[in-house]
Assembly symmetry: D3
């Protein structure tokens, strides 16, 4: 497994502007990537771009937002997502809806912590547990880590809450492996046909 970080875009994605900028940067990174690749895992929780990557790549593409939700649906009747800032909640709800897994989402709640504030594990755990309790009150029986920067917390917070907690990165890797093993990849019929050949500029031309 090889991690790629775009050479441009926002240093972290919080909000819609960051998310759209990041989507373009991710697409640019992948279209110019020359290494071998069996599948793509997109590791920006709630961020845009997965449909574009599906058009671009011949291999399976799994986004951690949808991946976490798919597995969470198998573990309880309703799930909840705990993310960073409140401003990201709506974006995540839209992402779950269009992925087709929004129905069993009881709540998306914020911890109030920014992406770059997740370094302090104890503080993050506490904020996660407090936010998770609001999701549980709304009906969640399973929780999802709503940011790739939270990966690694699932065991600790799961024990505190007494609930399964799904990490989207792990979920997406497993789903991508599953698709590869089963010989399945994105349909080219309809929505995710190959991008049409045309002129495209990837960033402001040098002046």
């Amino acid at each position: 497994m090889r991690g790629l970080t775009p050479a441009w875009g926002p240093e972290s994605a919080e909000g819609w502007l960051d998310s759209y900028l990041s989507a373009a940067a991710v697409l640019d990174t992948l279209r110019t990537y020359e290494g071998p690749c069996d599948a793509v895992v997109m590791a920006g929780f709630g961020e845009h771009g997965r449909e574009g990557v599906r058009e671009l790549m011949d291999v399976p593409v799994v986004d951690i937002t949808e991946a976490a939700a798919h597995l969470a649906c198998l573990l309880g009747r309703r799930y909840g997502v705990v993310t960073t800032l409140e401003r990201s909640c709506g974006q995540i709800e839209d992402s779950l809806d269009t992925a087709g897994v929004g129905r069993n989402c009881a709540a998306v709640v914020g911890t109030g912590l920014g992406v770059l504030e997740l370094g302090d594990d104890r503080r993050t755990e506490e904020a996660f547990v407090a936010a998770a309790e609001r999701a549980v009150a709304a009906g969640a029986e399973v929780l999802v880590l709503g940011c790739a920067g939270m990966t690694g917390l699932q065991r600790a917070v799961g024990e505190k809450l007494g609930l399964p907690v799904v990490d989207g990165v792990g979920a997406a890797v497993k789903l991508a492996e599953s698709l590869v093993t089963l010989g399945l990849t994105t349909s080219r019929a309809g929505s995710y046909a190959k991008p049409l050949p045309k002129r495209r500029g990837w960033g402001r031309p040098a002046e």
Copy 2:
């Protein structure tokens, strides 16, 4: 992987009566099963029972109906299901809805073939392709084999249709493995708490 067939129930499940009878028989089989078990895959497409098995077992439980839909959502914007008799379509729709993956289902269509008529591969393939075309006209970009008895056809019909075709059995095995690897199992909070201790009779008492 070990296959279990209930010692009682219908010889095949086509319709709601068969499905409910089968659900009880599957539950009885599992509650009395004494072998080792890391996860349960339920292989009756569109059949009832998965929530009861989740209550009963401590290991992850994946139903092939939901499993196929979860993977299909990753492969196209809308998916379709091709099943056996038309009478089963509504049951499958309800199953997808409650599993939380009904939103992106464009259509559930029948081939007109009964479960026990699936033996003739050529005839089944033809019937599948004809029915699949109706699903594609309704917007499906990915197809799902809507009966465990169709397992094995995915490659042949996928090639004819030029579309990815998901076999629920393979999908469920991969999802179950994923959950096991990730250390995840059913939430006990809320819906899927352990069954309460009480007297239960599993079939008509001897007279």
Copy 3:
């Protein structure tokens, strides 16, 4: 009106496993019942099986869950259901959804009392009223007794709450009588065709 209790199944139904087991036992009871019968009322609130009974019987079939909701819709813009254990709420929600009457349900709430704890009327009434207030806060203008074991409480709790309270058993009997009088019974087109002739085992074979 003749009451039938299955000769097997759970002594009470609380949760999905009980509900599926009960569905099979009810189907077995009805398929072997030889008395006269104008209609079937299924008296397990939120329990599975009604679609299977519709396949089996030529007479109208009414489940108390849907019946209570149908009448409640006529009495206020939104209704609420007060049931026994919280674990049953999700099952009831799914049952209302598939019956086509979930839209105007404001909330399904639990009293925390098990089915076999409903004997003490005063305690049950108090628990009902407390839970009902949560449903009213969620928008309910009418309430439904969410367990056949609560039948008889509708007048007392209705007076305390100042709201109409629907008992599903009474509602289902009236709806069944209505269908019989109007000469209507289950459609055989599509979903509820007669069960196909095949071998079926109703409970574990004697060893």
Copy 4:
């Protein structure tokens, strides 16, 4: 049972203007009616006014649109409505939605016949059967007569179609009787509180 016809309003209701005018005339008729009354059946299919009548009257109020749909839901997984002019279809869909029974409606279709053209039974039957076939193709397993002027046709068209056909007038009478027998009437909490005392003019003042 006593039939009341408003002393004013449209001679038949086809479209929204007629429906709103009719609603006001029906309310005026009921507020000035002095006879005994156990329940009100509103016999304008798809017409407005039922919520206002619920505010006005202390007895149960049942509209034939919702009544037919409630019973149809008990007879098949999806129902269809066959009405007069195509222009009424949307109004009926809205009426079913707000009544909380729209989910299982597969289609509302028109025969192309106006309300006052329903006199010729043979022609109406033929038009009904032709339109019903479109509803069946859309998934309807049960049909509803979508106009009070069609009452009486249910047996003939039901036989031709091999499907149960629900007459809203009969359905509403039975539902109203059921509510009366069960001692239930409209909730005064929330939406359907009594109209506030105030000045109201019921029609253009004499000049």
Copy 5:
């Protein structure tokens, strides 16, 4: 712009009976209006009748309920409506749903003030702000004045809340002007065809 007040109907509209009566009176006023008219703005928030006026008039018709919601959708991801009495909330929800703009409505809440109690600006503002906070807690990012009698408060309450507040009357006037400028008016295809010629009585005949 010319304001028309019906010569009959309720002195204010609070509840369904008032709303239906008002709809007929508004239709009567417009069908007998002989002045010039480029567009119709219907200024009863949450009141019935817009579809009937669309049938009647050849010019564009905009209702303040839908107008406020359309603009609110452009200003935030979710909006809330603050209206007069709680009894009107359901009616407004239904109006937004059928207008096609209910999805992004987070809440409709009441201030407890009747239409004719809105004269005291300070009291109304305080009640509005208190109710608005409940809508914000439910997710509203933009607010709508839920009664034409509140027009003029938008600036004051907007400043207190730090949120955009939409007045339906202003919104509807702007939308009506937009349609006129663009040369657009109501479609005659399907739902809003011209009323059929027939006898109609507009109010109780003189005795």
Copy 6:
């Protein structure tokens, strides 16, 4: 009114990759634009980015996709969108859904013409009318030009179809003017807060 075209991005947007790339380029154009600006109209039908622009700008932002739908809802009970390639239909559906105006959309259909093939008016009109008939068959009573490149055709195709046809560009300009006149702009509460200050690269760094 001043038209801005991004200095980078795709030469036309057809599909998700183009749309995400275009969204970033539009954001870059606007963040570096130094002229006066009362409102922003985003003229890429069905394209991403509007929420990001709302975060970025202090003035009102209106996207032609949502604008056309908002006005279309005022002109008929259901509307349809006719766009360029079939591959864009799903993207438009998602855009309408998240904008909160998807409910009354009867269909989004493609003409099969690419964005850069719209130059031949006669051919485009014919393709539009043919596609529009499919939307009308699905229930549309009003149509929307589903590409900014179709602007100008509304009168001609409207006459041929006998239906109102909404051009999104004109609609968005009018809605933007309306918001400006009413003193309304995007809410900063919740979803569309200002972008956080952070490092962001807008395109591949020079090597």
